[in-house]
Subunit: 242 residues, 2 copies
């Protein structure tokens, strides 16, 4: 059976905010980058799948950060696929500093789509090509939660521009996360509290669309909803501070 794979990173100057600690988008970006590199290196990444007219699409992800490391911190992301079902493959992550202290973790769930129909395919067939990568270790945290209806008390409109889109011409995951975080007051964003973020990607948004980002700010939590101008919910998310 396969082993967890390890990737080394360092918190670069452009990845910190004015508290000099890594931003959540910077850590999230390193996590998603690790997923891409690991899948590519094992022969079932987006580039390999594209050759057969398939692709991976992120369906849900949850992050937990106990703390955000300071600039120049060296850290290691371990990643492994624990299991897959008919629709979703589960990829896990832990983030550990040079002293071996785990300061963050994530669980992501991915669907495989047919690029012509853009609908999910049954992983029990094509999924076999990543079966050899499965590691016998459970997810390091509770899997991404369903998010209930959001009742925004503030909204913001954003037109999707070139810098928001990825190789697919869809809004990239980190940009959605930034759009939501940017709705929060600065003191929530820079607090030295442990946090958990759950994100559910329901539909894709494209270049030129106008999105409405709604935020429902609560005592120790915030809920988010991103709605497209074609009137569908694209993303729902929740943050909890501890």
């Amino acid at each position: 059976m396969a082993e967890k794979s390890l990737y080394n990173y360092r918190i670069n100057p452009h990845e910190v905010d004015f508290t000099l600690r890594a931003t959540v988008p910077a850590l999230g970006s390193a996590i998603l980058n690790t997923a891409g590199i690991d899948a590519d290196g094992k022969g079932f990444g987006v580039q390999d799948l594209n050759a057969d007219n398939f692709s991976w699409v992120l369906s849900r992800i949850a992050f937990e950060f106990d703390q955000r490391p300071k600039q120049s911190t060296d850290y290691t992301i371990a990643t492994w696929i624990s299991d897959y079902g008919r629709v979703l493959s589960t990829r896990n992550f832990t983030l550990t500093d040079a002293n071996g202290v785990e300061f963050g973790r994530a669980v992501s769930q991915w669907a495989m789509i047919n690029l012509s129909t853009r609908s999910a395919v049954d992983l029990s067939g094509v999924g076999k090509n990543h079966e050899g990568a499965i590691v016998d270790a459970p997810s390091p945290m509770e899997r991404p939660r369903k998010i209930r209806e959001v009742m925004p008390n503030t909204t913001f409109e954003h037109q999707v521009v070139y810098s928001d889109i990825d190789f697919n011409q869809h809004v990239n995951t980190m940009r959605y996360i930034e759009m939501m975080l940017n709705m929060l007051p600065l003191d929530r964003l820079t607090a030295e509290k442990a946090m958990r973020m759950d994100i559910h990607f329901l539909r894709e948004c494209r270049y030129g669309q106008t999105l409405t980002i709604g935020c429902e700010l609560c005592e120790e939590a915030a809920l988010f909803e991103i709605i497209s101008d074609a009137d569908y919910v694209a993303v729902r998310a929740a943050i909890e501070w501890k």
Copy 2:
């Protein structure tokens, strides 16, 4: 005398656009990151200067990209300081692929500011602490050009949010570049043409300000101006396609 320093990078999945080639902001970010890491490693980075209440501020930068490399390309950024005057220190870069082909280059000019007054200090005094890093090699391209008055034919308003700001609470350089590029039609951004971009940073913008980004689109060029709601010009830039 010192030698050029080399740093190795790879074009990651999240750094490409839908042409599967690295975006200009992704390459620009690697260039600025290299500047930060090199200065830190040699003892005159922002963290060291901050201890003495000084900091580096980017005044002007020019990039040339003959082509944008494809995803997974390994490349090397060479960087060196060629000289400094009373106000500006000049740091240079070349970008070279694994076959030794140079596909890009940059010249950046930095002022040192006193963090209390936020005004430039005379480098002939404090600048001595980076004199040992000077390399006897000229800039690899024409230095950043002055940019004449801009007469925008389109404008866009943007309120500065958390994701736009850096460790200084000022808008970070790559975000300015993204704001300007996002004014261009997609076919300019994704064309396989060589390009040169010159950027002049005149004043800093802060969290919460509303910026007006103006673009004057010409045949084989574009000019940009970013104006703050306090009615000063913050940034001017020009792109030329060849």
